[in-house]
Each structure stands twice: as C-alpha cells, then as structure tokens.
Symmetry: C2
Subunit: 200 residues, 2 copies
Amino acid sequence: MGTRRANTRSEILEASVDLFGNRGFAAVSLDDIAGVVGVAKQTVLYWFPSKDELLDAVLEQTAVELAAVIEAAVRAAPDEPLARVEAVVRAVFRPAVRRPGLLGLVREVSRLSPPHAERLTLRVQPFVRRATDYLGQEMAAGRLRRADPGLMVALAYVTVTGIATEQEALRAVEWPMTRSGLRRLRSELIEFVLAALRPA
Amino acid sequence: MGTRRANTRSEILEASVDLFGNRGFAAVSLDDIAGVVGVAKQTVLYWFPSKDELLDAVLEQTAVELAAVIEAAVRAAPDEPLARVEAVVRAVFRPAVRRPGLLGLVREVSRLSPPHAERLTLRVQPFVRRATDYLGQEMAAGRLRRADPGLMVALAYVTVTGIATEQEALRAVEWPMTRSGLRRLRSELIEFVLAALRPA
DNA sequence: ATCGCTGTCTACCATATGGTAGAAAGAGTG
DNA sequence: CACTCTTTCTACCATATGGTAGACAGCGAT
C-alpha cells in the first residue's frame, strides 16, 4: 500500500484552500478533502495532525502566495499612487477569478476562532501599515482624494475581494463569466476603485 | 410543560439570522440556536420541520426586512441619483452594524446549495433590475459616471456589505468601533461610493 | 369535568465526523 | 536478504448532530 504519491502534502493544501474558501471551514469534512485528492482520510491526518492544524497551514500558504503576488506587483509598478493601486488590483484579479477560494478563504477569517484570525491578521499587518502610510503620504501630496487612508485600504480590499468572491452578486446582475466578460469586469473594477480614490 | 412562551417562532428566527450570518449556516447547530433562545432543540424542530426549512424562513425574513428598509429609503430620497445612492447606503448602514448577521447572511448565500441561493436571487431580482435601469438612465443623462450599470450595482453592493460585515478588515486597520467611529465610517463609506459613481 | 388542541419537553436513533491504533507496502541500506 | 523508515490504508471509536416518537401540561370549548 505504501506507494509514494507525487506530492500528497501540497495536493492536500491546494484542495483545502479551494474547499475551505468556497464552502467555508465548518462545511468541509476531512473526507471531502480526501475525496478530492483521491486519498483516504487518514492520509490527510498523517500530513496534518488535526483539522485545525490543516487550517493553519492553509492560511499560512495563502498568506504567502498573496503576499508574493502583491509584493511583485507593487515593485514592478511606477511610483505613482493610482498606477500602483491599479497594478495591485490587476495582479490580484487573475488568481482571484481562477481560484475564488483563495480570497474566499481570506474572507472566511472573520468567522474563524480568534486565535486563527489573529495569526493571519498579524501576518497581514505589515502590508496594511505600509499601504496605509503610502496612501496617507500621497493624499497629503494631493495625488489622491483626501480621506482616511486606513479606511481606504479596507474599502479597496472589500471591494476587490467582494467582487471576486461573490459570484452570486455577479449572477444576480447577469454578468457573463466569459473570457471577455472577465476582462471587462477587471477594467470596470479598476475604474471603480480609481474613481473612488482620484483627487476631486 | 406546555406553557406558552411569548413568541417563540420569531425569537428562533431572530437568533438564527444572527448565528447563520455570523458563523455560517454549516457551523451552527440546532442546539446552538435552541441554546440562545433558551429552549430545547425539539422546540426549534416543532416550528421549523428541518434545518433547511428554517434556513428558508430565515432567508425569506431577511429579504423582506432589507427590502422594506431599502424601499423606504428610495421613496423618501429626492429624485437625484447620488442622493438616492446615499440614502440607500445610509439606510442599510444602521441595521448592518447593529446586526452584522443580517448582511452576513446575504453574503452566505454564495455558499448555500443552488436551490436556496436561487430562491433568494429571484426575490432580489426585481430590485436589481430596477436599480440597474435607473442607474443606466442617469448615466445616459450624464448625472453618473458612465459605466456598466449592472456592475455598478454589484460593486456598490459588495462594497457596502463588505465593509459592514468584515469586522476583521476594520480591525486590521485599527478602526475604532465607537459611536463616533461608526459615524465617521458611514460618512467615509458614502463618500467612497459616491466618488466612484460621480461623473468625471 | 372532560375533551381536544397547542406548544414544549424527555428519550432515543442513525449517521457523519474528527481522531486513534496499528497493519501493510514500497524503497533505501547494511 | 533482513531491517528500518516513510507513506498509505483498514478497522475502530467517541461524540455531535439532524431528526423521530411520544409523553405531558396548559387552555378554551362543550
């Protein structure tokens, strides 16, 4: 029985991100995950000693992935606030629609137990602070609409994750999920956020 | 034993809205609900024959409540698009922060089974259509930024529900949840949405 | 007083789920 | 080949959960 599979651990992580993110942590059983990976439940428990520790690993991996994407986007963008915001939204958009579970998982954090939530919050904290400081500077310089920078970060975040994760909302307005529909969605989303941030 | 309680059915509904909305449908057990109401699980099952039918009733009630709030706000506002948008956001804001579960429940719909989701979607459909048509007209008249009206509805929706339900996002930017903090939050939220919709 | 209806509870049940124990199977090493 | 280490699986277990059956108590009507 002990045949070595390709890379069981990361397959379990990947499946868990999708399942937890799409259906919610509580709604997913270890058997569900095992079923997707094509393995017995006990194999999951071999790699992650409990469902809770699996969740921790999943959150960790998600944080790392997203951080890398955002980091790269910011680095590559010119030093102009609207261009940077656009770059970040654009960078997050692709993984978000390809794997809605990714951002769905981040959103799931609100419902998790405080210890789990706090661990992810701490991980994200430096990003938030950097973004807040940056927006604050640019507002002071008149290159962004004057507002509370922290709140603008939060608003941009909920707008992007919301539109990316709530397929129901898009279905309600009969948005076509075709390739061109997605391109259009991305550009309208960017315009929406930029319009909200542009100086008056 | 058969003493009549005040209004068990509606107490169960109310508790269920909060619990389902805050923790997610799957994460809430009938015992949890019964515990909050102060009643035995079987009493819950007496009023609602199954957890699924309870969910239906909860969704129905939520839809009716929110519809009434929005309807009233639109009716009372002057016939000017930005004022109407502001009125709706303002009207939804109060119940949203007082009972995060309300909007949290709406957001939960994405994770529910298609039959449940569809029932709520159908209920909301007429509102969406009216809003879309209205925004479309006002855009054509140049009183709103020109964009896809349906998407604007979706974006405004996810922005408002997102900021109202994701307390984690607000905690991450260290937003004070005091009375004045909430007032400030409301006005910044409105400004954000209006700035995104104002004609260029 | 008794009858029946309504609402609530106690006693169970079947199933699903997270988790434990330990066997077996393959691969590398002496 | 024998031995060990890693990985996977089969066999269970305890608990939680949605749901059923039926007893019991208050209340209005006859």
